[in-house]
């Protein structure tokens, strides 16, 4: 769904149009559920977080500021915060290793709205993620899904802080280069 369409739905939500929320839910419930399930590894808890995320959207749609970013990352930030809160309350251990990536690149295409450009970008990123060594993918996943800082990741993985910083930076550098179609320099690619 394009950003203008999302903005229009968000405006309708602010006016109390329930069908606009239902439309966004139909589009993005799978994405939100997948992220919540990745954090919580519990289908029931992930369902609750999914619904809570959309109800928060219902009550606070006006807090989305298009000048600060696009809709999906904002929705997923809400989702991760709710999921992390649940995960901490339940004292669950983060799923730290290994980060398994779907072999099927079409999996996301069955969950998300069809958009040729986004699909191509996502496939590119999926390939780059799959090519990362797990030791670089893991700290990125811990930061993204669990909101961990360098220090928290180092403590969680029992690794030196410097090692974690290097691995996270290298992983992100590789993903960016692949995503933008830029070549990696030796300095960027090696640990």
């Amino acid at each position: 769904m394009s950003q203008p369409a999302e903005l229009e739905l968000l405006q309708r939500i602010q006016q109390g149009d329930e069908e606009a929320l239902v439309a966004l839910h139909a589009r993005y419930a799978g994405l939100v559920y997948s992220v919540a399930l990745r954090v919580l590894n519990d289908t029931m808890a992930a369902e609750e977080v999914t619904q809570d995320a959309f109800m928060r959207l219902w009550h606070r749609a006006e807090t989305f500021d298009p000048a600060r970013g696009t809709f999906v990352p904002w929705l997923l930030t809400i989702t991760r915060r709710l999921a992390i809160d649940t995960q901490r309350r339940q004292k669950r251990d983060p799923l730290s290793a290994p980060v398994l990536i779907d072999d099927d690149p079409e999996a996301w295409e069955n969950v998300l709205p069809v958009d040729e450009r986004e699909t191509a970008d996502r496939r590119l990123l999926l390939e780059a993620v799959a090519a990362l060594p797990d030791e670089q993918r893991q700290p990125i996943a811990l930061a993204y899904f669990y909101g961990m800082s360098h220090s928290q990741i180092a403590e969680h993985l029992s690794l030196p802080l410097g090692t974690v910083k290097t691995r996270l930076r290298l992983g992100m550098t590789k993903l960016r280069a692949a995503w933008l179609g830029e070549p990696l320099t030796d300095l960027q690619g090696g640990e």
Binding site: E18, V22, H25, S34, V35, G69, L76, N110, R137, R176
Partner: protein, 260 residues
Amino acid sequence: MGDEAGQRMDAVSRDELLGMIPAYALNALDPDEARALETWLPTDPEGQALLAEYRALAGQLYVLASAYPAPAHLGADLRARLAAGREQRAQPASRAFVWRRAARLWLAAAAVLAVVVAALLVLRPFEESRPAPEDPAQLYAHIAAQAGAQRFALEASEDQPALRGELVATPAGDRAVIRVEQLPVLAANQTFQLWLLDREGALRSGGIFTAAGDPMYILVPLERPLPAYERFGVSIEPAGGSPYADRPTGPPVFRVYVHS
């Protein structure tokens, strides 16, 4: 570049600051590093452009999760939550209308009657269960007074910010009662339903009930010792309860986790 930023650059080189940007985009920097970066960033357009790229990348990192379609019942569940919210918003208005029109004498009489009815209903909060072996309110007081009683706070759903309460259980974990305040007002065609989730993931109904007084005491029909359960919850369901024996269809009201 300003003097202050320049001085910080003496301590942390520009290359080092540029190297922090990927972690900053993920909110993974520790506070000191984040402050140093935030001080320097407004002075360096290249750094700002790089951050924008990394933030865009970070926005796509959901691909690190496996993709699953949302369970089909979530759509109906969302509509039920929206409907419940509508009815809750409508209830206070209609009540206010009645209050305005009622004579004070009748109000006093109604209040007395409400107390009597509430007291009677508290004695049998579960309409579909057998008569409780003990009054839940008395059982709650009895358990709460025991040394070693287990206590677990209720977690209200987002739609019930005023709701609060706790579950108390005997030290042996064989009896449990929930005390809850500020349950929402239900429509005539709705009921509350208690759910029990065990640690094997099996969900079963603990019975339906309507609110009777505030606070409300709910006897939890444990079939196994308390540690066998992961959590309990209450949802709003159509009159008669969820059409499914193993899952709610309406919005959650609160839940309570059994922490080991």
